[in-house]
């Protein structure tokens, strides 16, 4: 396949090319988000073979759905990771494979991005992890068990011994607070600095 350089294009522009059945564009999206997608799928599924299935299904959904993607509504990265997550959660529920280990944090000063990491992904990870750390424990627990553990809200209520309404409130408040924290943090610069109140 002739390799065209799409590196200068925005994610959304690459999705638009993908919508025209451009395989090189799909490959470019995979090169940008495949590692993050695989990391997420492994985190949810705890199984590399299943994670591969989830990533493959999700990128094929990107391929099929690119023509219906409307960039005014969502970032392409949001769309892609939403597809990956949905697929991983569906698979983990089918496989009854959920785990609840806490999210391992990246080690501070670990010498910068690893081989599988780009600088952007590395900074983004630190930014989101920093925001997560600022959430009240119960909200963070609800978000992590739901998003990384693949538990439904009813399963969470049972597991944590709380009323369903409490779980819903924690997820809602946690996600709203996380959004606020992330909105206030500036990529790559002041993400460790802002106040928690």
């Amino acid at each position: 396949m002739a390799r065209r350089d799409l590196a200068h294009l925005s994610d959304e522009a690459v999705v638009a090319l993908t919508a025209r059945s451009d395989e090189v564009a799909l490959a470019e999206l995979y090169d940008r988000y495949g590692r993050a997608a695989f990391g997420l799928a492994v985190r949810v599924l705890r199984d590399e073979a299943l994670a591969e299935d989830a990533v493959q299904d999700a990128f094929l959904s990107v391929w099929r759905g690119a023509s219906r993607f409307i960039p005014e509504r969502a970032k392409a990265s949001t769309w892609i990771m939403t597809l990956v997550h949905r697929r991983a959660v569906d698979l983990v529920r089918r496989e009854e494979r959920r785990r609840t280990d806490p999210l391992p944090e990246s080690e501070p000063d670990s010498g910068g991005p690893s081989a599988a990491d780009s600088t952007w992904l590395h900074l983004e990870r630190e930014r989101v992890q920093a925001a997560l750390r600022q959430l009240p424990d119960q909200q963070r627990e609800a978000l992590e068990l739901a998003y990384y553990g693949g538990f439904t809200q009813s399963e969470l209520a049972e597991r944590l011994g709380e009323p369903l309404g409490t779980i819903k409130s924690r997820m809602f408040a946690g996600l709203a607070r996380l959004r606020e924290l992330l909105d206030n943090s500036i990529d790559g610069e002041t993400w460790t600095k802002h106040s928690t109140t």
């Binding site: 993908t18 025209r20 059945s21 395989e23 799909l26 490959a27 995979y30 090169d31 495949g34 590692r35 993050a36 997608a37 695989f38 990391g39 997420l40 492994v42 591969e52 990533v55 493959q56 990128f59 094929l60 959904s61 391929w63 099929r64 023509s67 219906r68 409307i70 005014e72 509504r73 969502a74 990265s77 949001t78 990771m81 939403t82 997550h85 949905r86 697929r87 391992p104 599988a116 990491d117 992904l121 983004e124 990870r125 989101v128 997560l132 739901a146 998003y147 990384y148 693949g150 538990f151 439904t152 809200q153 009813s154 819903k168 809602f172 996600l175 709203a176 996380l178 959004r179 992330l182």
Partner: protein
């Protein structure tokens, strides 16, 4: 009921609803603009959680497998059989219907639709699945469905035109996440309905299960 549904935007964005709850909520979303706004915002935040995870190193072969599978699929366009290819306006109507259901209405498309051709297209509600039936004046039709789960292993969805007490096979399709566009084979005349059943993978000549989705009378 609406009160509780309005609360589910965060759970939906986190994929923390079970299949039934998700389906009911997507039904609700189709008609609730403020919830679509909430979901769009929460989904962006939820997707950020994806980036808190250490990226992985997928096997190098995965990239090739994905590209090969993409190539093997039909081209990335809405599949239209020639006999269904009615007017551009009808197609635009279907696209708009998908866009509304997904909460991604866009203004320019809306403007394109404000013409007589599009208004001649009939939108028929479907119970049992989030989606609707779109019928042209000549009886050509398509189902537009959102987030149909895959049919069980070894099964497929089959559409039927119900007319004069008979069920006429109208095409096989697979569920999938997101929006799906299912051209109905044959005509859907006035007074008929469209139904969907689960059938063995090769399809059936007559329904072998009860319909789980039925349209209103066209």
């Amino acid at each position: 009921m609406d009160e509780t549904l309005h609360d589910l935007s965060a759970a939906y964005a986190l994929d923390a609803l079970d299949a039934d709850e998700r389906e009911a909520y997507e039904d609700h979303l189709a008609g609730c603009a403020s919830c679509r706004e909430d979901v769009a915002a929460f989904s962006a935040t939820a997707a950020e959680l994806a980036f808190a995870v250490e990226p992985g190193t997928p096997p190098p072969a995965l990239r090739g497998r994905i590209l090969e599978a993409a190539r093997a699929e039909r081209p990335n366009v809405v599949p239209l059989r020639p006999r269904w290819a009615v007017t551009a306006a009808a197609i635009a109507a279907v696209a708009a219907c998908v866009a509304v259901g997904l909460g991604i209405w866009n203004v320019s498309l809306h403007d394109q639709l404000s013409n007589a051709h599009a208004q001649a297209v009939q939108h028929v509600p479907v119970s049992g699945i989030p989606g609707s039936l779109v019928v042209s004046p000549s009886g050509s039709a398509a189902l537009v469905v959102f987030s149909m789960p895959s049919a069980p292993a070894g099964k497929i969805y089959e559409a039927w035109v119900l007319r004069d007490g008979k069920a006429i096979p109208a095409g096989l399709f697979q569920g999938r996440p997101g929006a799906a566009f299912v051209p109905i084979q044959g005509k859907v005349p006035k007074g008929s309905k469209v139904a969907v059943t689960v059938e063995p993978a090769t399809g059936s000549a007559q329904p072998t299960t009860s319909p789980f989705a039925v349209s209103a009378t066209v």
